[in-house]
């Protein structure tokens, strides 16, 4: 058994969460180039974590699931104080972590440990396994004395299945297989007797047949050591097996959260549904869905208005946050299906779609009016083109989000439905929270920030 932690800081109050997160924001500044850095100027910001609330009960496994760029890893790191949040709060057993100095955080890190994705990169290649694990103990002044420390290291190695420990303590990471390395990384985390383990894609770099072994080990440690996990993954299959609760993230926000079984048996958010449909399943009677969200995760530095998923969403409708630039996406889609001649004419009129990005976009309150000027030709031609595309695809969500298109002073004026940003709210008669206008009337959800 690994080191037994001395008595817990204070006895658990009933129902007290181990970790509580409130209104957490993590922003990264982007400065385009050296000149911009010198003259300062307004740096654009990436809202990696954009207002997240969550709670972790002792002993539970929470899965943070999302695609790359969803902010799941940043959120995991923020829980351990590895990145500095811009605002919001993270408490561990009632103690605020946000704003703590490194020297105050360090003693807490013993209780809050992390397992990284790439076992090859998270072990120092010139340090033996024994030393890598022993160092963690030295830094935290645990088990003083060489004898005691070495014993603790051996216990940890055997606990994670690297037995007999004597065979592994003097090995270098390069001499171990991928699975063995990940076991060593886990040993280094548990040797400190943590309460919370943030595991960031711990099995995704491993071979299929090894994944089950490492996931099994994590599950075993949870039972034997009473660990609480945050399991960060893009793999829904392993999340379903391992997690008690799931939070689905998209562009820095939790879009759906609830008990694992409910999320998988009755996914509500169109994004969750799409993710579930897209998981390749070793069942040949199933096939890939033809209806997939179009495009990819947009640039987090310039996220879509309203619901961040709206441009890709197969079920989007009027209030989802349509804006002029979505027209460009619609036309780029159109141009993959027309012949060269037609494309050339339409591209000339719209400057390859650039006129939609450049549209004068006046927003008064939540009402948006965009003025789109044709690159060549008259506004009548442009209006005809827009109407033709609308008539070709009347079911497209975007057209529901446009109330009127008219020629006005040499341009086309487009009026959009007022935007509303969906909020994460409970769904009636369920333990699930979802952030989607399909489930909550946009008129009653709060206006966008």
């Amino acid at each position: 058994m690994p080191t037994k932690p001395e008595a817990p800081a204070k006895p658990d109050a009933p129902g007290q969460p181990l970790v509580q997160v409130r209104g957490l924001h993590v922003d990264f500044a982007l400065r385009a180039n050296a000149v911009a850095r010198l003259i300062g100027g307004a740096a654009s910001m990436v809202h990696a974590v954009d207002g997240v609330d969550l709670e972790l009960a002792p002993g539970e496994v929470l899965g943070l699931v999302g695609e790359s760029g969803s902010g799941k890893s940043t959120l995991g790191r923020a829980l351990l104080g590895l990145v500095r949040p811009s605002s919001g709060s993270v408490t561990y057993r009632g103690r605020e972590l946000v704003g703590l100095s490194e020297s105050k955080l360090r003693p807490l890190r013993r209780k809050l440990q992390m397992v990284f994705q790439d076992p090859h990169a998270s072990l120092n290649p010139s340090m033996t396994i024994g030393r890598a694990i022993g160092d963690a103990l030295r830094i935290h002044h645990m088990h003083p004395g060489r004898e005691a420390r070495e014993q603790a290291v051996r216990d940890a190695l055997e606990r994670v299945g690297l037995a007999p420990a004597a065979r592994f303590v003097d090995k270098f990471p390069g001499e171990l297989s991928g699975g063995q390395k990940q076991r060593a990384v886990i040993a280094r985390a548990i040797v400190l007797g943590p309460e919370l383990l943030v595991a960031d894609e711990p099995i995704s770099m491993l071979d299929m047949s090894v994944r089950a072994k490492i996931l099994g080990l994590l599950d075993e440690l949870r039972r034997d050591l009473g660990l609480t996990y945050v399991y960060i993954t893009h793999d829904l299959a392993s999340a379903r097996f391992f997690c008690d609760r799931i939070a689905i993230m998209y562009l820095g926000k939790i879009v759906e959260t609830g008990p694992t079984e409910e999320i998988f048996s009755a996914p509500r958010h169109p994004y969750t549904k799409a993710l579930l449909d897209a998981v390749p399943d070793p069942d040949p009677s199933r096939s890939i869905p033809r209806e997939l969200p179009r495009g990819e995760v947009p640039d987090a530095a310039d996220p879509p208005a309203g619901c961040p998923f709206h441009p890709r969403c197969p079920r989007s409708f009027a209030p989802c946050g349509w804006q002029p630039r979505d027209l460009r996406m619609i036309f780029e889609q159109r141009w993959t299906g027309v012949d060269a001649e037609q494309y050339a004419a339409e591209a000339k009129l719209t400057a390859d779609g650039a006129i939609f990005d450049a549209a004068d976009d006046t927003t008064i309150g939540t009402d948006t009016t965009a003025t789109v000027r044709p690159a060549t030709g008259g506004p009548g031609e442009l209006l005809t083109l827009l109407q033709a595309e609308r008539d070709a695809h009347p079911d497209e969500g975007l057209w529901h989000g446009i109330t009127d298109m008219s020629v006005h002073e040499g341009a086309v004026r487009i009026e959009f439905v007022p935007r509303a940003t969906p909020a994460l709210l409970p769904v009636l008669d369920s333990a699930v929270q979802v952030s989607c206008h399909l489930y909550h009337d946009p008129d009653t959800t709060p206006a966008p920030r």
Binding site: E67, Q180, R240, L276, D281, P282, D283, I288, E296, A340
Partner: protein
Amino acid sequence: MTEIRSRSDVVLDVQDMRVWYSSPGDPVRAVDGVTFALRPGEVLGLVGESGCGKSTLGRGLMGLVPRGAAIDGTIHFDGQDLLALPRKERERLRGGGMGLIFQEPMTRLDPLMRVSEHFREELKAHEPKLSKQEARNRGLDALRSLGIPPTRYGNYPHEFSGGMRQRIMIALALALRPKFIVADEPTTALDVLVEAQILNILKGIRELYAPAILLITHNLGIVAEACDRVAVMYAGRIVEQGTVRDVFADPKHPYTQELLRSTISLATRELHSIPGAPPDLVSPPSGCRFHPRCPHAMQICVDALPPTVRDGSQQAECWLLASGLDENARRPLQRQEVSVADEA
């Protein structure tokens, strides 16, 4: 397999192919006696763990093996024996006749060249008679069929997301209208939704271009959803092949059975894993290479290479399927305890 070779509807016919690498000691037998065939427009999934030789097999077909490696056996492509061709002629087939799609779209496009220049360079090398306008149209058509609008033709690779770059890679391969494509883990670096989009595209292009595809992957889910047939590779050999439907419904080889059981899918309620680790290919186990890990290993499995046994669309290389073995040969093998520490 001889009867298949004589049939004109086979694009690729591979017989007893071997690729051995030199190493400081004995050679590494990365691919060691592999036989399979591909029909036009067919997608064959080649699946196995890392180090089983599946990428080496894919590259060996293209003739892309490092110096010091040897290829043996016969590879008939479009009626020609590739290994008997002079090097020059073989190189001419690469790209035009046989295409390759790599795993990492991020690093396979030249960051200093526009997408249009990638197409121009490629078409100039392979089809020098094509006019500029024809080359442009060919490139635009290929991109359009993969859902990339012509507005992006002049962009640089960094202006595209990972999924778009993989589409460009596929478009580049398709622009030469190859009859056969090796796709080596084409979706491994991509997110799940983008992966599904790319798999849909691979299905979709068959209607337009109809190349035969060898899809190399470690993901059985991808095989189930995107392939017609599957070949399961273990330690340098194909141990089982057949239609996806038959192999997944009733896997004959114990390795296929174990691999399917240990895959974590949405239906997984209990974890299962294969004990031990794949063998060292310098000195693979005698007889059946899977015998040290096989739950049903018998005495004969250690002594001799198992025969290939056919059953409908399926064929598997396993002694359990052989008939007429005596009592002694069928004696269960005493398995050594495999400790966790010896696992991969």
